[in-house]
């Protein structure tokens, strides 16, 4: 059972920098979990504590059923892929991949078998005799992966492995990583700042900020039901639109009015928002949930906007809008005709609205 359990994990640097704050996570056997968040959120520190490269200030890390806090990295049966590949420059590709096995005194025949097998999976069989400096970025990344694979570890750790690749290669490698994981079926912890990688690669995603876990769950769960404003704004591109609004009761129905707009609060939020009557909340709506209003759109759920910028991407059109006092972005179909300066009305979907407590930023 190669699950990883992180219990009440804390990391202090120099007594006053609290880099990781009381993190609790369970990564199940064979699961691919992504830790995502902006730089400085503690995701890499957490990963390095699991690897044994950073000391643990308090809390436990368990791999399987063993507490590994005091085990050196070499005894934890893990493999890590680094952002800068960390290939040994003075060794050939073959020796790079064989190094870990040599350290564990695996016999030569077995080493050769494993290296060849990994090389075949990754398509680097032709490069085994070359040195890292003779390879391109993508090839080096594959070698780094190969080096991890041959070890047959219990857990794979990834520290932003795709960040150094150019955009096109990154997309390609993402797909390959996903295929690789389903093939290898090994527990993996993956750290990245890129929310697209998080959404596409993770079985479950952990969003972190300022050393704390914000939310854990399946990607779509986090996308559709973020627990706070940060998670809501972090996942999804372009980011969710936020607008401050005041909640009040009018004619028996709840309304949320901001500067230059007002909507009727849908029934499912009504009860929860009643507690906020007379106070400010933050309204959240994703760009793709803003569509150009037509005759069948409920009037209470519409926003009037002025188009400021039109960005035609081919598969969609992004409209930068001025809605009353704030800017918003809408993502609409490529067939929509719009020009700078047009006044358009947009409809909201009642099931795709979000409200957040302005002070605590928690979802309502």
């Amino acid at each position: 059972m190669a699950r990883v359990l992180i219990r009440n994990l804390n990391k202090f640097y120099d007594h006053d920098v609290h880099a990781v704050k009381d993190v609790n996570l369970e990564i199940r056997d064979k699961e691919f979990v992504v830790l995502v968040g902006p730089s400085g959120c503690g995701k890499t520190t957490t990963l390095r504590m699991v690897a044994g490269l950073e000391s643990i200030t308090s809390g436990d890390v368990l791999i399987g059923d063993t507490v590994v806090n005091n085990l050196p990295p070499m005894d934890r049966d893990i493999a890590m892929v680094f952002q800068n590949y960390a290939l040994y420059p003075h060794m050939s590709v073959y020796d790079n991949m064989a190094f870990g096995l040599k350290m564990r005194r695996v016999d030569r025949a077995e080493i050769s078998k494993r290296v060849q097998a990994a090389a075949d999976i990754l398509g680097i069989g032709d490069y085994l005799k070359r040195k890292p400096r003779q390879l391109s970025g993508g090839q080096r990344q594959r070698v780094a992966l190969g080096r991890a694979i041959v070890r047959h570890p219990q857990v794979f750790l990834f520290d932003e492995p795709l960040s150094n690749l150019d955009a096109k290669l990154r997309v390609q490698m993402r797909v390959e990583l996903k295929k690789l994981h389903s093939r290898l079926n090994t527990t993996a912890i993956y750290v990245t700042h890129d929310q697209v990688e998080a959404m596409t690669l993770g079985d479950r995603v952990v969003v972190m900020r300022g050393g704390e876990v914000q939310q854990v769950g399946e990607p779509l769960e986090l996308y559709n039901a973020p627990v706070n404003r940060f998670v809501a704004g972090f996942l999804g591109s372009p980011a969710m639109n936020f607008a401050p609004a005041r909640v009040h009761e009018a004619n028996g129905a709840m309304r949320a009015d901001g500067t230059g707009f007002g909507i009727e609060v849908p029934a499912e939020f009504g009860a929860r928002l009643r507690a906020y009557a007379g106070r400010d909340v933050t309204l959240g709506v994703r760009p793709e949930d803003l569509s150009v209003a037509n005759g069948s759109s409920p009037p209470g759920l519409c926003l009037d906007a002025v188009v400021e910028v039109v960005e035609r991407l081919g598969a969609e059109i992004l409209l930068d809008l001025q809605v009353g006092g704030q800017t918003m972005v809408a993502s609409v179909e490529p067939t929509v005709r719009a020009q700078r300066g047009d006044k358009l009305r947009f409809a909201l979907r009642p099931d795709r609205l979000h409200f957040f407590d302005t002070a605590s930023e928690a979802a309502i």
Binding site: A51, G52, L53, P72, P73, M74, R76, I78, A79, M80, F82, Q83, N84, A86, Y88, P89, H90, F99, G100, M103, R104, R147, R151, L157
Partner: protein, 283 residues
């Protein structure tokens, strides 16, 4: 760039450069000419009308032969070679380990130790030679090559450490971390990953250390007394002057031959030597 007329290039560049090169290399030429000049030409005063300094019509190897057969010169060369090689090995060993510890490991007093080692580099030998002579005598190492082999590292190690630290710092941490995750102990990661990558630095440090050892004088002068134990520098200085008479032919031959090993190594490893020199300054 020197813009403009060709004469400017000559005046501002070729002539000064030529003058420098001439000035810096002339003494070696002089050494060479003197070594092969027969005595009757050698001891001709400069005021004499047939003083022809820059070449000789009758080159002879008699000085070189006398040097090799009548003096202990070959013995001195072997002594110096032995001492230089062993000192270099000891210093590289200590320097590698210390350099790695100071640049890659976190431990209390790391800063002060680093500064301490730097400071010992600045302590000149002429400050310590008198008490050291006493200590060497007490350890019964006087008049043996070990007196030098153990004391030379005092100025070689700080240099090697400092130079190698510069090389180590340029190696990314991830390489060691990856090695440790792959299954290597810290010790093995240091040996199999870091050291091989730092080989250029090791070469530079080694060559520089060898040169410094070969060049050392005052410790060798003070700690060694019998003629068979002397190093080339000391031997040439003390044994080739009999009474008040300087045997210039042999002296220059000795100076020339005594410089050959160092010049030889240097010629093959110029880049490494220069890297060592500039590394110590930039470090």
């Amino acid at each position: 760039m020197i813009e403009g007329a060709k004469w400017r290039r000559w005046v501002y560049f070729y002539i000064p450069l030529g003058a420098f090169v001439l000035w810096l290399l002339f003494p070696f030429y002089w050494m060479l000419v003197t070594s092969v000049r027969p005595d009757r030409e050698l001891y001709r005063p400069w005021m004499a009308p047939n003083y022809a300094p820059f070449w000789t019509a009758h080159p002879t190897l008699v000085h070189v032969m006398d040097l090799l057969t009548e003096t202990l010169f070959t013995r001195w060369m072997l002594n110096t070679l032995f001492i230089a090689i062993v000192s270099t090995i000891i210093s590289l060993f200590c320097g590698l380990l210390a350099g790695y510890a100071l640049s890659r490991l976190k431990f209390p007093f790391a800063g002060s130790l680093g500064t301490g080692i730097f400071i010992t580099y600045l302590v000149p030998q002429t400050l310590l030679f008198i008490p050291l002579a006493d200590i060497i005598r007490n350890f019964r190492l006087g008049d043996t090559p070990w007196a030098l082999i153990l004391t030379y590292p005092t100025f070689l190690i700080p240099f090697c450490t400092w130079l190698l630290m510069g090389y180590f710092k340029a190696i990314p941490r991830e390489l060691e971390e990856c090695a440790r995750i792959d299954g290597a102990t810290r010790w093995k990661a240091m040996l199999y990953i870091i050291f091989p990558i730092a080989v250029p630095g090791i070469l530079s440090a080694g060559i520089f250390a060898f040169t410094l050892s070969w060049n050392e004088f005052i410790y060798a002068l003070v700690f060694l007394s019998s003629a068979e134990q002397k190093t080339v520098s000391v031997g040439v200085t003390s044994e080739l002057v009999r009474g008040d008479v300087f045997y210039w032919g042999q002296l220059m031959a000795g100076a020339l031959l005594g410089s050959i090993p160092v010049a030889f190594i240097y010629s093959f490893f110029v880049e490494y030597y220069v890297a060592g020199l500039t590394g110590s300054v930039k470090g």
